[in-house]
């Protein structure tokens, strides 16, 4: 356990806000994990340049050598100098960065620029020089704050402060993406802070239903419709926009409560007095605020480019949906539109429409509130605890570079799951870097994922993405993975990033074969090919007969053949794939099946809660039927499976069928009495959707590799009814029930008739844990790295002969 200093600036005069709660809750989490923690706060006035410089100096001079680890965050606390220094950044001095008034100019006299550059590596010298200069001539126009001189000095100081960080985190993606905030060459972990308005342990506890008609507990007619907004009353929070939008919503009898204090209190009160239904209540105690939020239809928040927005997280933790604007930064990042809240353009009419929609849709907003609460309940300080733990492990591991046409996170389909699961498990032996050429126009982002994997995502170029769109239109199915074999040169940023990563890599792995030609012919390090599938078999089955398919299938053949030829080791996911890959020329192969993060079977209470929640959210009338769930991405075999299930719904009325995920449904299919089409679901809702199932379905007729969706269901303790194709590599597990597609209807009818399918035995699933699967593969890779022997060979012992 470590002795940790959590360092934070204290505003002058002291004001309790999100920043203070952030550090307080982090310190508490570190203490709960067994660390000794001191919260070190230093006064940091910032109303003049002289004050700002003196605040920077206090942290530069702070001696924290007696601590094992230092965690800083808001400027200028990260100026502390420590070997194991983690920065959890919320923001820099925004008035000199993203909120800098460009009319003040950026240009300095050349001589001043040189003076700053000469001291750029020594913050004490830079502070001495800048303070002396300001003190000598405080009224010099150049010394105005903010202004070009203060901007240049603070930028130089901040660069010094971040130069020697051991690890970097940010409270949101929004913060990590701001210009000049983080070092693009250092991976940033995105770690949302937790508030303390709600006890997070309590927030995850649901009440077991005690009534046969739970919906009657939510009378829609007697509750007045109330909206709440809270925070510091200043211009950047745009309470005036919220009041005007509320007025434009024209909701008779509805009320908008605004809580908080600040410089705009007077003008906002005047506006509220002119607007029916708006009530300003000043600052509320935490208890009063909790009660107000819990009773509200929604919380409305419209700040400009918030770092994170702890207020939104706290509202969501209380089960209250959030209505926000597209430009609210961290708040818009937290809210999933139409899932945990509503996101509107930042205008009176558009925000007003969202408020009006919320006012009229009680059931929908309640469902969003529950989804938001689920999202927040999943957040923990675990990623920060992991960063602290990594500080004590400074042994350099070989660097494994994985090339992929999709990212390991966010997880949307089985390929993501395998990439994330295997890559995370391999971090036990390697520093793992995933370089992903992703199908978005998102630029370059270097992130540290929970679990330790470094992920560098490169957004495809406009030309590349346009070609992806056109090929999808031509073949009527996405082929952007295959097309990377031909199109990666159209994204030059990827080639640059690859060159940089290859310089540092000790071994390269291909996840899928489609980036093999981006590797130089004279690759100087070993190459591993992780074959998720036998690509030519899989793609032939799904593309054959489509316009343009033969050209794309030729690309598949080229890519897979090159990967097999060039790789010194090929990992495969099922015995049948291993045989097939050997037929295709694979020489050195090793099995690495698909896996699961952990097997945590559902309890009966969880199953009942999940069922109740599903029926409430979806408004299902008949809640007595057994539930059969199919989850799938928009992969062709999944589309065919979904189409079959839609047909079965009319043939087996005694079972409620659920289709969830990105899989496209036949146009003729609609939700009905015993069929619910969920579509894409909220992040984190997968377990709940599976936990309610009496059976998970996998009626796929084609495919390759192993189906992760089967393992996911088994890990929760749900039996699976599947075809033999869908059970590849998993058919010997007790909860897997294999039958021909033609027999599914009969088996499901039997289940509804009182013959439930037996669930899996948890002990059987141990062999599917990712660490266990990855270990032999890691050993095989290490054997190909002479520079990094895993351990010294044991001395010869003649007695063992």
């Amino acid at each position: 356990m470590s002795c940790i200093a959590v360092v934070s600036p204290r505003s002058v005069p002291a004001v309790e806000g999100g920043n203070e709660r952030h550090w307080r809750t982090l310190a508490a989490a570190l203490r709960a994990a067994g660390h000794t923690v001191d919260l070190v706060e230093l006064d940091s006035p910032e109303s003049t340049l002289a004050e700002v410089l003196s605040s920077y100096r206090r942290f530069v001079q702070l001696d924290l050598d007696d601590y094992d680890v230092v965690i800083s965050g808001k400027y200028p606390s990260f100026m502390v100098n420590h070997r194991r220094h983690i920065r959890h950044l919320n923001h820099l001095l925004r008035g000199l960065y993203d909120r800098y008034d460009e009319s003040l100019g950026r240009t300095l006299p050349e001589s001043l620029g040189r003076e700053i550059s000469a001291r750029a590596d020594d913050p004490s010298a830079l502070l001495d020089w800048a303070e002396a200069r300001v003190e000598a001539n405080p009224d010099h126009p150049l010394h105005c704050f903010p202004g070009p001189f203060s901007r240049a000095v603070v930028h130089a100081l901040d660069l010094c402060g971040r130069r020697d960080l051991a690890a970097e985190a940010a409270v949101s993606e929004v913060v990590a993406l701001r210009n000049d905030y983080v070092d693009p060459e250092r991976p940033v972990a995105i770690v949302p802070p937790l508030g303390d308005l709600v006890d997070h342990d309590d927030s995850t506890t649901e009440i077991v239903p005690t009534t046969a008609h739970p919906t009657t507990a939510h009378p829609t007619t007697v509750c007045p419709v109330t909206f709440v907004s809270f925070g510091r009353l200043d211009a950047i929070k745009r309470f005036d926009l919220i009041i005007r939008a509320f007025a434009s919503a024209r909701l008779p009898g509805a009320e908008l409560i605004i809580s908080g204090e600040g410089p705009q209190a007077g003008s906002l009160q005047a506006l509220a007095d002119r607007t029916p239904g708006v009530r300003m209540v000043g600052r509320l105690s935490d208890q009063e605020l909790r009660a107000t939020i819990a009773a509200a239809r929604a919380v409305v928040l419209a700040p400009i480019d918030e770092d994170f927005g702890l207020v939104a997280a706290e509202a969501m933790a209380l089960g209250c949906p959030v209505i926000t604007t597209t430009d609210s930064g961290g708040i818009a990042e937290q809210v999933e539109h139409e899932t945990s809240g509503l996101i509107a353009a930042p205008h009176v009419l558009t925000l007003g429409r969202a408020i009006r929609r919320a006012g009229r849709d009680h059931q929908g907003m309640e469902a969003m509130g529950r989804n938001g609460r689920d999202t927040v309940a999943q957040r923990t300080w675990q990623p920060m605890l992991q960063l602290v733990d990594q500080m004590s492990n400074e042994q350099r591991k070989p660097r494994l570079l994985i090339l992929s046409t999709f990212a390991a996170e966010p997880v949307r389909h089985g390929g993501h799951k395998r990439l994330r699961g295997l890559a995370t498990a391999l971090t036990a032996e390697f520093d793992v870097v995933v370089l992903a050429l992703v199908n978005t126009h998102s630029g370059s982002r270097r992130r540290r994922l929970t679990g330790g994997v470094e992920q560098l995502t490169i957004g495809r170029s406009g030309a590349h993405l346009r070609a992806d769109f056109r090929l999808k239109a031509l073949l009527d199915t996405p082929v952007d993975d295959i097309a990377c074999h031909l199109l990666w040169p159209a994204s030059p940023t990827y080639a640059d990033a690859l060159a940089g990563e290859l310089d540092r890599a000790d071994v390269v792995m291909l996840a899928h074969p489609y980036l093999v030609t981006s590797l130089p012919d004279d690759l100087a390090v070993p190459l591993i090919y992780d074959a998720h599938n036998v690509e030519q078999d899989l793609k032939s089955a799904t593309l054959e007969g489509r316009p343009g398919a033969s050209r794309l299938l030729q690309a598949v053949l080229e890519a897979e053949t090159a990967a097999i030829d060039r790789a010194g080791l090929i990992s495969f996911t099922s015995a049948s794939d291993g045989i097939r890959l050997s037929q295709l020329g694979a020489a050195q192969t090793i099995e690495a099946t698909n896996g699961i993060d952990a097997s945590t079977p559902r309890t009966e209470v969880e199953r009942l809660q999940a069922r109740r929640r599903f029926f409430e959210d979806q408004g299902v009338a008949d809640r007595s039927l057994p539930v059969a769930v199919f989850m799938g991405s928009n992969h062709v075999p999944n589309r065919e499976a979904a189409s079959r299930i839609c047909t079965w719904a009319s043939q087996v009325p005694s079972v409620h069928f659920v289709i969830a995920g990105g899989v496209e449904i036949p146009n003729s299919a609609t939700s009905g009495a015993n069929l619910t089409l969920v579509g894409p679901f909220a992040s984190g809702a997968e377990r709940r959707l599976l936990a309610m199932a009496d059976v998970a379905l996998n009626p796929v007729a084609s495919g390759s590799g192993t189906n992760l969706k089967v393992l996911d269901a088994l890990a929760i303790g749900v039996p699976v009814l599947t075809t033999d194709v869908g059970a590849r590599g998993i058919d010997d597990v007790s909860g897997v029930h294999v039958c021909p597609i033609d027999d599914f209807v009969e088996r499901l009818a039997e289940m509804a008739d009182g013959h439930p399918l037996p669930p899996p035995t948890p002990d059987e699933l141990a062999r599917f844990s990712w660490p266990q699967i990855a270990q032999p593969l890691a050993t095989a890779i290490r054997q190909r790295l002479p520079l990094f022997p895993k351990s010294e060979p044991a001395p010869y012992d003649p007695s063992r002969d």
């Binding site: 056109r470 090929l471 031509l474 199109l487 040169p489 159209a490 316009p547």
Partner: protein, 61 residues
């Protein structure tokens, strides 16, 4: 032809997200491309070549 499509696309812009509109435009472009080259495989080659050319990397292909 182009003039006849314009009201349809304008209506689409008003009701659909930008990505959807872009896909519809690509559908139209792709259909015209297949008609012009007469063969879907050739259309694939044309799409790839145009993308590589647009990115200034046609030599790399």
């Amino acid at each position: 032809m182009a003039r006849a499509q314009r009201p349809l696309l304008t209506a689409a812009r008003q009701s659909a997200p930008a990505a959807t509109v872009r896909r519809r435009l690509e559908d139209v472009r792709t259909t015209k491309l297949i008609r012009s080259v007469g063969d879907a495989d050739l259309a694939v080659d044309r799409i790839i070549d145009e993308a590589l050319g647009e990115a200034g990397t046609s030599d790399a292909s």
